[in-house]
């Protein structure tokens, strides 16, 4: 019985993989320039072999096509995206524990594309070993984007995590610091005020019931 199951698996698995391949090509056909499809498809295949998330690669090709980018530019962008995902996964695996999910890898890759250098990202991962690092990295990137010094930004977010804030609440720490700036505080004063208040930082407003009722789920295929 076990042999029969293995035999069937041996036959069906490549067919499944081929149909997956086929669906990637089918999604690109008619939208992405013909000259780019084969290369994008091979990049996706390599990523699949490395167990990287492949949907961001397909999306990057579709984005390039929608923006009327040249085939070479599309291939280049897809390749760069694959490299960012690879770096993100390496960073996440450094923390040990369970293998990172596609969402975590994509989130960390996006944070690094925002300009966080790998050593800095590594510092955050090391400082918060039990924490999915995506939100922490984005929080640091948010602070840097508003002119806060790199080290001070990392220190604040690590302090917030040690004060008990987790996950997306770390983004609220960055938002609180930015609000202090908008109220006229200097960068050091804004950081000091938020640090003193930890872990009490305001929650973002929840969507109203009317807004939730108005919301629609996008259906690209329809």
């Amino acid at each position: 019985m076990r042999r029969v199951a293995l035999f069937l698996l041996a036959i069906v698995a490549p067919l499944g993989a081929q149909s997956g391949r086929g669906s990637v090509r089918a999604r690109l056909m008619g939208r992405v320039p013909e000259a780019a499809i084969a290369v994008v498809d091979s990049v996706v295949r390599v990523a699949e072999g490395e167990r990287l998330p492949t949907e961001p690669l397909v999306q990057k090709a579709l984005e390039g096509a929608a923006k009327h980018a040249a085939p070479g530019r599309i291939v280049q962008a897809v390749g760069a995206q694959a490299e960012q995902l690879r770096q993100a996964r390496t960073l996440l695996e450094r923390g040990g524990g369970t293998p990172p999910t596609a969402i975590e890898i994509t989130s960390v890759a996006a944070a690094m594309v925002r300009g966080l250098p790998p050593p800095l990202a590594g510092r955050i991962v090391t400082a918060l070993p039990d924490e999915p690092p995506g939100p922490a990295l984005h929080a640091v990137a948010d602070l840097e984007g508003h002119g806060f010094a790199e080290d001070a930004a990392v220190d604040l977010i690590v302090a917030a995590a040690r004060a008990g804030l987790r996950g997306l609440r770390l983004l609220d720490v960055a938002t609180a610091a930015v609000h202090e700036l908008q109220r006229g505080a200097t960068h050091p004063a804004a950081l000091a005020t938020v640090r003193r208040a930890l872990p009490d930082v305001p929650w973002p407003p929840k969507p109203s019931p009317a807004e939730v009722n108005r919301a629609r789920r996008p259906r690209p295929g329809v």
């Binding site: 961001p56 990057k60 929608a66 996006a110 919301a215 629609r216 789920r217 690209p220 329809v222």
Partner: protein
């Protein structure tokens, strides 16, 4: 209440033969057995009135049984309706069945959140938001400006996590959301806005 001789109990329980009792006790046992026989038999309705009363006192069937009975029996149901209403009802049913459901009010999953897109594009004829959630197609999430004040908006359910997006104005002009606050290079020489969607439960 007088106490019965224990030997009577023994006879009634079958532990002692009736013949071994003295005559007066034996008579008492016989009377008791006769009375018990009458009680077991129950009073027979003696007349038509008695039988009618007995029927009236029969226990009601349970609610479930009554519902089952109603469902399985034949009924004549008449609905009086003006023809115009029946046509309207038919049209509503046809619309429900035939018109594709492009966006009913959502039931949010635990890993989904609400994203609100707002842009100021005075004079625009159309504004779309595009991103991986639309496969970068326009027409999937159009923004609306119902009061023609140039402020376009849309509220969308998205999976929790990071989403890159851009606005497409009049079907051709690509604009990064100036209010986004977070941007990433798109790899094609522009910047995409970056949105982080929180799950409804946070």
């Amino acid at each position: 209440m007088s106490k019965l001789d224990p030997r009577i109990h023994e006879v009634l329980d079958g532990e002692l033969p009736l013949e071994r009792l003295p005559a007066e006790l034996r008579a008492l046992v016989l009377r008791l057995e006769h009375a018990a026989g009458l009680l077991r038999a129950g009073p027979a309705p003696a007349s038509v009135a008695g039988r009618v009363l007995a029927a009236l006192h029969r226990p009601e069937p349970s609610r479930g049984r009554r519902v089952l009975q109603w469902l399985t029996e034949r009924h004549v149901i008449t609905i009086a309706m003006r023809p115009v209403w029946s046509l309207a009802l038919a049209a509503v049913l046809a619309a429900v069945v035939l018109v594709p459901d492009h966006g009913s009010a959502p039931l949010l999953g635990a890993q989904e959140g609400i994203a609100r897109f707002v842009g100021h594009f005075p004079g625009a004829r159309s504004v779309d938001v595009v991103g991986p959630f639309t496969d970068w197609h326009t027409g999937v999430v159009p923004l609306r400006d119902d009061d023609n004040d140039g402020v376009w908006s849309a509220v969308v359910v998205l999976p929790a996590g990071t989403h890159e997006y851009m606005f497409v104005v009049d079907g051709e002009r690509w604009v990064a959301d100036p209010l986004a606050g977070r941007y990433v290079s798109d790899g094609f020489g522009r910047q995409n806005a970056l949105l982080i969607v929180r799950p409804v439960g946070r």
